[in-house]
């Protein structure tokens, strides 16, 4: 930070620090918006609608319950899918970590699954199942399960052997072993896994919602496409992005509290 010594306000003033933080949060978005707005003055609205139109649509969606419920439905589908995949991933991950047989059977299977496109799961789900919500849940789980499982396995295998043996030397109960050692040791990687998979899930969910859902961001996007309404398409997309950002932010806040024990080097 080279601008620290200029001006009457002391460089370490909390107001200035806050303003600077705010600036850097906003800067990339302002940049994208500016480029878009410039483009909108050269192209017809169905290609690059003005951001003012988009903004009005965003507000409309957020304030109209019949529309906002679609956003909530999609958000819940993402979270349900992630939670399901995470729970199953933990079970499979622990199995792979503790048993060689499970490792040999499951790891190649999950790797195989990882190669299957989301759209294929959509087709399978439509053929196999009836309930719309169940289809979506199935798709969400199948597409994020391999990554979650591998991340759990990686976190378990990455536990510090010295610390683990120290803990074992006190002969803790299983519960104590888990809460004092395993959980704190794998938590950082689990949070990263959630962040990564959240991004994946938000991209898959709109595809999954094409299985016949009559609500949700995916369904709404399909409507906008049929109407050739670019402002609407953008506004719906932004709703999903907002949700992802909000959830990422929540995870980051949790990280800040949970990992305050970490040392920070002054050099990076």
């Amino acid at each position: 930070m080279s601008d620290a010594t200029h001006g009457a306000v002391p460089a370490n003033s909390p107001v200035l620090a806050f303003a600077r933080r705010l600036f850097w949060i906003a800067a990339p978005f302002v940049l994208i918006a500016a480029v878009w707005q410039i483009a909108s003055s050269f192209f017809p609205p169905f290609l690059f609608p003005s951001l003012i139109d988009v903004f009005e649509r965003v507000v409309e969606i957020a304030t109209t319950w019949s529309q906002f419920s679609s956003v909530l439905a999609t958000a819940l589908r993402i979270l349900a899918g992630l939670a399901g995949a995470f729970l199953i991933g933990v079970v499979l991950g622990v199995a792979i970590y503790t048993s060689d047989i499970a490792d040999r059977l499951l790891t190649p299977t999950l790797t195989f699954f990882q190669g299957i496109p989301a759209l294929s799961w959509v087709v399978f789900a439509i053929i196999w199942f009836h309930g719309i919500e169940f289809r979506i849940l199935f798709i969400m789980i199948m597409t994020t399960l391999p990554a979650f499982t591998f991340q759990v396995v990686g976190a378990l295998r990455g536990m510090n052997k010295d610390l683990l043996e120290m803990v074992m030397s006190f002969r803790p109960s299983r519960g104590k072993y888990f809460s004092a050692m395993v959980l704190p040791a794998v938590l950082p990687e689990m949070l990263t896994a959630w962040k990564v998979n959240l991004g994946n899930a938000s991209r898959v969910v709109v595809v999954a919602e094409l299985v016949g859902s009559s609500g949700g961001v995916g369904f709404q996007l399909l409507q906008q496409q049929q109407l050739f309404d670019m402002a609407g398409a953008l506004a719906w997309t932004l709703q999903l992005v907002f949700f992802v950002l909000l959830f990422q932010w929540l995870l980051s806040q949790f990280e800040r509290v949970a990992f305050r024990y970490r040392a920070k080097s002054e050099r990076r």
């Binding site: 610390l163 030397s169 006190f170 002969r171 109960s173 104590k176 004092a180 024990y261 040392a263």
Partner: protein, 271 residues
């Protein structure tokens, strides 16, 4: 502080080999720790080679040996963290590897590195050792604070390990082991990360503690002085772990004799 170990008496100097361990304390109870023909291999590497060793209850044994001679490996077998490739290790008459849980609260280890849980503060790290023992929260805190204070860490109890110096971390790890009040203490170079004064003070305290409470203690050290200062028995190991000398020190020995031992140990460590 001058201690009774300045008066030393050699009872077993078994430079000749490993079958000279005759220093089992008389009485009906068997040895607290016994190695019988113990070999530990890591792949092709032999870390401990056909070792026989008995350690009696109440003994304070200093284990000396070159780096990499298998001392920590011996500790891992005593504590049940690893099993011998060959032979038998028995601790308190049982097999520490297969009867692992039986030893809960009965032994405490000060590891070579501090091994503090980075996500716990100093006092919570000390308390960890007590949490498996069903001790109440209040008593855990009290005991932990007692030991932290004794080791000069008052005021740092709420610091996370990353904010402590190497020596402070080592003292937290000593507190963690001592707070459990276990009857068997295994200390892997517990005082090596400390300055001379602190180290001297702590080892005197350590020896007093072990003697007063009739605990059994094995401690690894690289310092011959430290071994003489507190050990009532000094076991010198060759590489791979195999006994070079086994000195029992009690009663009075002259400065000349002490010097002779020192030279002898020096020679086998230099070999």
């Amino acid at each position: 502080m001058q201690r009774e170990i300045d008066k030393m008496e050699k009872t077993a100097d078994t430079a000749a080999g490993r079958n000279g361990n005759v220093s089992v304390v008389a009485g009906t109870e068997g040895p607290e720790i016994s190695f019988r023909g113990v070999t530990k291999r890591f792949g092709d590497l032999v870390a401990v080679d056909n070792l026989d060793l008995d350690i009696a209850k109440g003994q304070l044994v200093a284990l000396l040996g070159k780096t990499g001679c298998g001392k920590s490996t011996m500790f891992n077998m005593i504590s049940g963290l690893s099993a011998p490739t060959d032979g038998e290790v028995r601790v308190m008459g049982r097999n520490p590897f297969t009867e692992f849980d039986w030893y809960r609260g009965k032994m405490a280890i000060v590891f070579q590195s501090d091994r503090l849980l980075p996500w716990r503060t100093a006092v919570k790290n000390v308390e960890f050792g007590l949490e498996s023992l069903g001790i109440s929260r209040a008593e855990r805190r009290e005991r932990a604070m007692y030991w932290l204070e004794k080791l000069g860490l008052k005021g740092h109890e709420n610091d996370y390990p990353h904010a402590l110096s190497g020596g402070m971390r080592q003292r937290v790890s000593i507190s963690r082991a001592f707070a459990t009040d276990a009857e068997l203490l295994l200390c892997d170079e517990p005082f090596s990360a400390l300055d001379e004064m602190t180290s001297k003070r702590l080892r005197t305290e350590f020896a007093r503690l072990v003697k007063e409470n009739r605990k059994t203690a094995v401690f690894i050290t690289h310092s011959i002085d430290e071994a003489f200062d507190i050990g009532d028995r000094i076991v010198v190991l060759k590489r791979p772990a195999e006994i070079a000398h086994d000195l029992k020190i009690e009663g009075e020995i002259g400065a000349a004799e002490r010097e002779r031992y020192r030279r002898m140990i020096h020679e086998s460590l230099a070999a």
